[in-house]
Amino acid sequence: MSKTPIALTMPKFGLAMTEGKLASWTVQVGQAVKQGDELADIETSKITSGYESPAAGTLRKQIGQAGETLPVGALIGVLADADVSDADIEAFITQFQAEQAPQEGADEASARASGPQTVQVGDYSLNVQESGSGTGLPVLLIHGFGGDLSNWQLTQEPLAAHRRVISFDLPGHGASSKSVQDGSLTALAASVAELLKTLDIPKAHIVGHSLGGGVALSLLRDQPEKVASLTLIAPAGVGKTVNADFLSGFAEADRNRAMQTELEKLVHNKALIGRKMVDAVMRARRLDGARDALRTITAACFEQDKQKDALLPVLENAKVPVQVFWGQEDAILSVEAASSLPDHVATHLYPDVGHLPQMEKATEVNKLIESFLEKAEA
């Protein structure tokens, strides 16, 4: 419980976020909440996500209005115990805003300066997003088929408190160059190894989602010395099948409406897929070569609804800590594959979650990754 009022501020989902829209309040003034309860829906240029209460208490004041767009860090509400006086709440607000005001411009400037950078990696030109620093080993986040680094917008920042965290667009994806060589997991893993070398990172914790999980497993097989630990989220290469209709539908969708339908297959809670997210995905897909890259990868990695790479043995022989996350409603790579995982793999399954646990259960997944990394380094 909080005797001292707690400032509720516009959260930052992903490094590129400089402002967000308070789509709606889900809690009324005077209502009591637990830590982790959803207080409001926040909409950014890429995603709509719930704003979870940082503590237990009572929502005392809504400062941001539904529909209002505010900079990251701006005060949107106040949480406190029910017995804190209204006068104290008002005093808190006045003080907070007085302290906050001069910093806004500076925050915005620093957020902009730390946007993604283009890194030349051999023949590839890769779009790379760096954040964080500290004593922990770096983390490399590898997104899935047709995705990009924004798939980690709810992951990267929370992991960056004690270490360097790097996300990037795989070859053929996002703002990276469009050649994918033969499109195989092996070729993509080689590009990842090359990226680590370019960034002067001898060893990193690897987090891979979906196809990126298959890339991570291939990296562990081919260059095990680079991998400190492996976190796999609904990974390819473990099960035998894939949703082939999704692969082609997602790669070929040439209208936002069609893309929306495909993206909704990724999640259990369809409300996560907003117009702006669809638009962002379409912007990447419209680039010359983007669809060809996905076609090449599809041909190299899948045969109709069969996965060509069987990487379970890599997992069985793994000498590093491994954990796996999977949504039980995953419509792309079935959760059934999780049952064949070796015993040494820590497995976290979520009901009512689709193919994107790192977004649908961001807080829980982030916490588990964080403690897993600490344990791996201990």
Partner: protein
């Protein structure tokens, strides 16, 4: 990705397509400029407002062809070249000059495919500036897209921002039909993030730039920015609007308009072209015919008066639609709600 102006986005689209496809040629009046001048400078203008600057230097006189001031000849030549293996992009400078070459568009390029039983392809683009707000007066300020939209066989594209302009122009150049690509001259210095790579935006898919519950605003070209501005102001007052940028008036994404009107029950169309038989009429008719039962209030059109575009600044301002006029129109339809729709 970097900030690019509307002008740079168009220039980059042309440059990238010319590098990609050797059959893409440009023609127009002073698109290089300086031929036959006494200074010997051969890329003197790069278009009357500098949109094609530098292309002559890169691609030379065989791909960037300055023309005499002779619209019928070179617009017709673009049609003939398109039917025989090139992908010409002809710049008409101001769309008002269509009066000098309408036959080449209306009776030639637009008709070949149908008239020849499907045996012709005419992959040409006519780029032209349109729009008021530049004190360019009655013969250099018109928004003539309804004229082209009326003609079967033509596609009509009106980009609303630099990002849209690049993707739509590349799509236009790669398209196998004749495309009229209209650039609002007031927007050339507007900037936004535009990818450095080539990309295409398909025709016939509207872009929803704002989502709301109360009113659907369909706006065309430069009007999209004004509609967004109005929608943002109205949101602070508790009225939320959906803003639709059709991107292309031919083909027209009718479904998106109908879907959004079904959600909001109110429609405003913002159209900079003269009010009789313009896109606002066309879209109003569409909704009246196919979604009448979803309307809670009369449709409202925010359009200029039925006059030529005046020269003098205060008169031109009076003539033009604006964010303020759109805001007032939204409030008007909100107050005019005549019935509740189940």
């Amino acid at each position: 990705m970097s900030k690019k102006s509307f002008r740079q986005a168009i220039n980059e689209a042309l440059r990238q397509e010319m590098r990609r496809d050797p059959t893409v040629v440009l023609m127009g009046e002073d698109i290089a400029g300086g031929q036959g001048g006494t200074s010997g400078v051969e890329d003197a203008w790069g278009g009357v407002l500098g949109v094609t600057k530098g292309l002559y230097t890169e691609f030379g006189p065989e791909r960037v062809l300055d023309t005499p001031i002779s619209e019928a000849a070179y617009i017709g030549a673009a049609a003939g070249a398109a039917a025989t293996g090139l992908r010409p992009v002809a710049e008409l400078m101001f769309v008002d000059f269509i009066g000098s070459c309408l036959d080449q568009v209306l009776n030639q390029a637009a008709k070949f495919r149908y008239m020849f039983g499907g045996k012709a392809r005419t992959p040409m683009v006519i780029r032209a500036m349109y729009g008021a707000g530049f004190n360019a007066a009655a013969q250099h300020s018109q928004s003539l897209y309804p004229l082209f939209t009326h003609i079967p066989g033509l596609k009509v594209v009106i980009p609303s921002s630099p990002y849209e302009a690049k993707g739509l122009l590349i799509e236009a150049i790669r398209d196998d039909d004749p495309v009229i690509f209209l650039e609002n001259k007031v927007m050339y210095d507007e900037e936004e993030d535009v990818p450095d790579e080539s990309y295409t935006i398909p025709f016939g898919e509207a872009n929803i730039t704002r989502e709301g519950d109360d009113v659907t605003i369909v706006a065309i070209g430069r009007m999209v920015g004004m509609a967004n501005e109005a929608a943002d102001r109205l949101e602070k007052q508790g009225i939320t609007c959906t803003v639709i940028d059709p991107r292309t008036t031919s083909p027209l994404d009718e479904q998106t308009i109908l879907d959004c009107v079904a959600e909001t029950g109110r429609l405003i169309v913002v159209d900079e072209s003269s009010p009789r038989c313009n896109m606002a009429c066309d879209i109003s008719a569409l909704v009246a015919e196919q979604a009448f039962h979803t309307l809670k209030a009369p449709i409202k059109r925010v359009v200029p008066p039925h006059t030529p575009v005046p020269f003098s600044t205060p008169l031109e301002k009076l003539y033009m639609p604006s964010a303020e006029k759109i805001e007032a129109a939204v409030k008007s339809v909100m107050s005019q709600t005549t019935r509740e729709v189940a």
